[in-house]
């Protein structure tokens, strides 16, 4: 187990190195530097800027150094915990990242808080009796919610809950400080899809377990149905969904981009979107590190969870 963890973490570092190197290389092009300069100085400004002025500007931003020097420098800084400075926002990346991750973490917390119990219950109920009316209703609901793109969900929720009924604010910029009501729409948008997805997986897992021979054995041992479900079926059927939930972290990191941009929520996703559009390399790099770490660690947690929950693997 420790071997596995360290191997994964090693792999994570390698992945990070490769990814950041590739990104650095991409963003090193002259075209990109010009794009950043344009974003900084404006199109009219760039048009009046002399080449000397441009070089000076590059120098002031530390962009004239050869790319590998900058990369090695950057690695060195990262190793000491200094993630650089955001060109667009003019703050230390670590500060920015910290705040934004906290914000996204809050969002994720609420998503998980509701998603886990709801989707597991729905999935288990549907999978318990495959083909029953309840199963059909739940399954179709799940297919439906997973078929609506989040932009559409977000728009419709805004119209209905925000503008039509006026129950909740339409934007979640938290400009006036943290306000839980602001979170309703983003959380709901993320939830709607995620519940459907996880519930479907849970249902599949549960349905598979219900057809297994050991459930038949348990029933024919004369154990009451409810006990069979609780003691035998759920214990096995929830292993997959539980591990899946960790993987949802990674998925969430991707989905928050749309949701945060739409609802103007100042989290990780919006930061990354802004940075990508601006060419704010160091922010992108830092965000990438986080993304890779989340991907690898969520995978790792999911695997560890699987191992711990599943005696078949645990005791091998």
């Amino acid at each position: 187990m420790i071997k596995m963890i360290s191997a994964r973490l090693g792999q994570m570092l390698l992945t990070m190195a490769v990814v950041t190197f590739v990104l650095f290389a991409i963003f090193d092009s002259d075209q990109f530097r010009r794009q950043v300069a344009t974003a900084e100085l404006g199109g009219f400004g760039m048009a009046t800027l002399s080449e000397d002025g441009y070089q000076k500007w590059l120098e002031s931003k530390g962009l004239t150094q050869p790319f590998f020097v900058r990369y090695v420098d950057w690695i060195g800084h990262v190793a000491t915990g200094d993630l650089g400075r955001s060109m667009q926002k003019n703050v230390a990346v670590s500060t920015l990242l910290g705040e934004r991750l906290r914000a996204t973490g809050t969002l994720a917390f609420f998503v998980f808080l509701f998603m886990i119990p709801i989707s597991l219950t729905l999935g288990a109920l549907a999978g318990m009796r495959e083909g029953s009316l309840l199963d059909r209703v739940i399954s179709q609901f799940c297919v439906l919610t997973t078929s609506i793109p989040q932009v559409a969900t977000a728009v419709v929720l805004t119209v209905v809950l925000g503008l039509g009924l006026g129950w909740v604010p339409t934007k979640a910029s938290m400009a006036g400080g943290f306000n839980p009501v602001d979170l309703v729409l983003p959380v709901l948008t993320l939830l709607l899809y995620d519940i459907g997805y996880v519930a479907r997986m849970t249902r599949a897992s549960m349905a598979e377990v219900m057809t297994s021979h050991y459930i038949r054995t348990a029933l024919l041992k004369g154990i009451p149905y409810s006990r069979v479900i609780i003691d035998h079926a759920l214990r096995n059927a929830l292993i997959v969904p539980f591990t899946l939930i960790f993987l949802q972290l990674n998925w969430l990191l991707s989905q928050v981009v749309v949701v945060e941009v739409f609802f103007q929520y100042n989290g990780f996703g919006r930061m990354l979107y802004d940075a990508a559009m601006y060419g704010d390399v160091e922010v992108i790099q830092a965000a990438t590190l986080v993304a890779v770490a989340v991907a690898v660690i969520s995978q790792l947690l999911s695997d560890i969870g699987y191992i711990l929950l599943n005696p078949r693997v645990r005791l091998k």
Binding site: H213, T217, R312
Partner: protein, 681 residues
């Protein structure tokens, strides 16, 4: 040893089925899986239910448990448990009966145990839910029961999860679970099919003892006639959803009436018979699927005695014949003994020079030694069988021969060319063509995406046997003739074929390039007995015609005895005994061969068998004992010596050699395991 059969006509049966009809409802419509089934099971009686795959055995067992899944339903008849109709019981009543009065043991022990619960919890559940005892008391009973089913190290097993114990141990646990509430009826659905033969022997023994001890009535479902003979007093032979013959074991096995039962017996290889003196007689055709059964007698399309106008008109009812009941309209007329006359004998094919020569061949997978110092040869036109239980390295050898693996050390020559370390890509086309394989699993042996014809044609083209498209096609059709399949099958896809038919295509494919050597890795073990006989015979007849050397791999000694000229017995990667078929089947034996022989269930009542039960399971191939691989289970093991010293190879006559520490005289003095009974019972 077996409890005496009670008089089946008096007293209340514990379990009775009256005119039971069961159907499955699928999108293709109603599938009548079981029709008009009758059964009277008296307390303490053991009743066998035999028949080929798909004839409805499991369906009956599950119907008794009132558990037919979502789409199964009892459409007629009654099931009486101790005289009460189970169909009218409430769910709660049923629940109380299940697991306490009627219990069931299934084919795959691993699948019937919950992987996420300890053995202890799964056992303790039964008394907790049925008798409401405390957890501690329940656990105590569980432990006690584990002792009763003769499990070693019960404390460890109590705390273990299912995957941490071996298959044989799992099956004992499942049996213990079924016995915990001392049920009146125990249903056993092929409880040993997934196990190795030597392990199976132990379980069968255990079941017998338990039945005797508890007075539990057994309904023993199996496709293996030999097993039924050894465990039951009465039996029902099923064919295509119907019972075709029922009676006591003695009656049925010595004087069977129904043509199907006879056909079944005719297709079982019996130790003592071989391919040349007593070829098997397969039943022609194959089992019709439930939705397309013929009119009249279900068997009439395959029956040699069927009379048009009689057998294909109305459904046939069971009729009493002596103490038995038989579902045949012509039962009196066809009882003449000549009907059972053996098929014509074949001339033995001439044996030529050594074609395959194996010397000291070893194969390691990291620390696991799959093959250790194999030495034997095979001659032209000869059939050499390799037998041994699961994991002993048979397939590994086959794969080395076929060039899919490379030997770690030692030599392997085919027709004088060393190929042990040459992967197939590096072999000459000629060598590849001359060395072909027939595979075990009929469902896997053909690529489901391509037509049967194109798969055979590919071989012909690849080996350059023919190049012209029309002639390739012609050759494909010839090969289909050779394996006795209709020519239209060339355009079919594998899923439109039955298992036996697929296996025939596999054979046609292997022989398409006229190979000199064919390796057949368990080619018939996944097939039903009647099909098995046909496929084995086919293999033999092609071999005879083409003078092919056949390396035949199997775990079934009866089949091996039937086909092979010479037999190589393997255990944990090593050869423990080899010789001609007769030599291996007669004393002296290697103790493992002896156990293996004894474990083969024999359906022929003219044969007597000496029981040799070995304890324990196969050790892991990763940590074999340093000495004799069999020393951990051997009844004759000599302390210190066998476990630590590799045994010497002792030569007896000609080819016969045994790797064993036992003194020559001890070996030579062994009693034969199988003998002819003086008089049929």
């Amino acid at each position: 040893m077996l409890p005496p059969a009670r008089d089946a006509t008096s007293g209340t049966p514990v379990l009775e089925c009256r005119d039971l009809c069961i159907s499955y409802f699928t999108r293709a419509g109603e599938i009548p899986a079981v029709v008009d089934f009758n059964l009277r099971l008296m307390p303490g009686e053991a009743h066998g239910l035999v028949g080929e795959s798909g004839c409805g055995k499991s369906t009956i067992a599950l119907a008794v448990m009132q558990y037919l899944g979502r789409n199964g339903r009892i459409t007629g008849g009654q099931i009486l448990f101790e005289g009460r109709d189970m169909l009218s019981m409430s769910p709660e009543e049923l629940r109380r009966i299940r697991g306490s009065r009627i219990a069931m043991v299934y084919q795959e022990p691993m699948a019937s145990l919950n992987p996420a619960m300890t053995i202890r919890d799964q056992l303790a559940e039964v008394p907790i839910h049925h008798e409401g005892v405390s957890r501690a008391e329940a656990r105590r009973r569980a432990l006690e029961m584990l002792h009763r089913v003769k499990l070693p190290d019960c404390d460890r097993i109590m705390r273990a999860y299912p995957h941490q114990i071996s298959g044989g141990q799992q099956q004992r646990v499942v049996i213990a679970m079924a016995l915990l509430s001392q049920p009146k009826v125990l249903l056993l659905d092929e409880p040993t099919t997934a196990l190795d033969v030597t392990v199976e022997a132990g379980i069968v023994e255990l079941i017998g003892e338990i039945a005797a001890q508890y007075g539990t009535a057994l309904l023993y479902v199996s496709h293996n006639l030999g097993l039924i003979r050894e465990t039951c007093q009465t039996l029902t032979v099923m064919y295509s959803g119907e019972a075709v013959e029922t009676g006591t074991v003695g009656q049925v096995f010595s004087r069977m009436h129904h043509p199907y039962t006879r056909g079944l017996f005719g297709s079982i290889p019996v130790p003592g018979a071989d391919k040349n003196t007593r070829p098997l007689r397969a039943i022609p055709g194959h089992l019709p699927p439930p939705q397309s059964r013929p009119r009249g007698c279900n068997f009439n399309t395959r029956c040699a005695f069927a009379l048009p106008g009689l057998c294909d008109r109305d459904p046939v009812a069971m009729r009493p014949v002596g103490g038995e009941a038989v579902r045949c309209l012509r039962v009196g007329e066809i009882d003449a003994p000549e009907a059972a006359a053996p098929a014509p004998r074949h001339e033995a094919a001439p044996i030529g020079d050594v074609v395959v020569d194996v010397r000291d061949l070893s194969k390691r997978y990291h620390e696991l030694r799959a093959n250790r110092n194999l030495t034997f040869d095979a001659r032209q036109g000869e059939t050499v069988a390799i037998v041994g239980e699961s994991g002993c390295g048979k397939s590994t050898f086959a794969r080395i021969l076929a060039g899919l693996e490379e030997a770690t050390s030692g030599e392997l020559e085919v027709a004088g060319t060393p190929i042990g370390a040459t992967p197939v890509q590096k072999r000459s086309v000629d060598m590849v063509r001359n060395l072909q394989m027939v595979f075990q699993n009929p469902f896997d042996t053909l690529n489901p995406s391509h037509t049967v014809g194109s798969q055979i044609a590919r071989v012909i083209r690849k080996f350059g046997v023919e190049t012209d498209e029309a002639r390739i096609r012609a050759r494909v059709l010839e090969l289909l003739d050779l394996v006795k399949l209709p020519r239209e099958y060339a355009d079919r896809r594998p899923r439109q074929l039955s298992g036996g038919q697929k296996q025939r295509i596999g054979i046609a494919r292997a022989f398409a390039g006229n190979p000199a050597v064919v390796v057949a890795d368990e080619p018939v073990s996944a097939l039903d007995v009647s099909v098995q006989a046909a496929v084995a015979d086919l293999l033999m007849s092609i071999q005879r015609e083409q003078g092919t050397t056949l390396i035949f791999i199997s775990h079934d000694l009866a089949v091996v005895r039937y086909l092979a000229d010479r037999i190589v017995v393997m255990y944990l990667g090593q050869i423990v005994e080899q010789g001609t078929a007769d030599e291996v089947f007669a004393a002296p034996y290697h103790p493992y061969t002896e156990a293996l022989l004894s474990a083969v269930p024999i359906a022929d009542v003219r044969l007597r068998k000496r029981r040799v039960i070995v304890s324990g399971d196969l050790p892991s191939a990763k940590r074999p004992p340093p000495g004799c691989p069999f020393s951990t289970r051997c009844n004759y093991a000599i302390a210190d010596l066998c476990a630590n010293q590799p045994p010497p190879v002792q030569r007896f006559s000609g080819h016969h050699s045994i790797a064993c520490h036992l003194p020559r005289d001890t070996l030579a003095a062994m009693e034969p395991v199988i003998t002819m009974a003086e008089e049929p019972a």
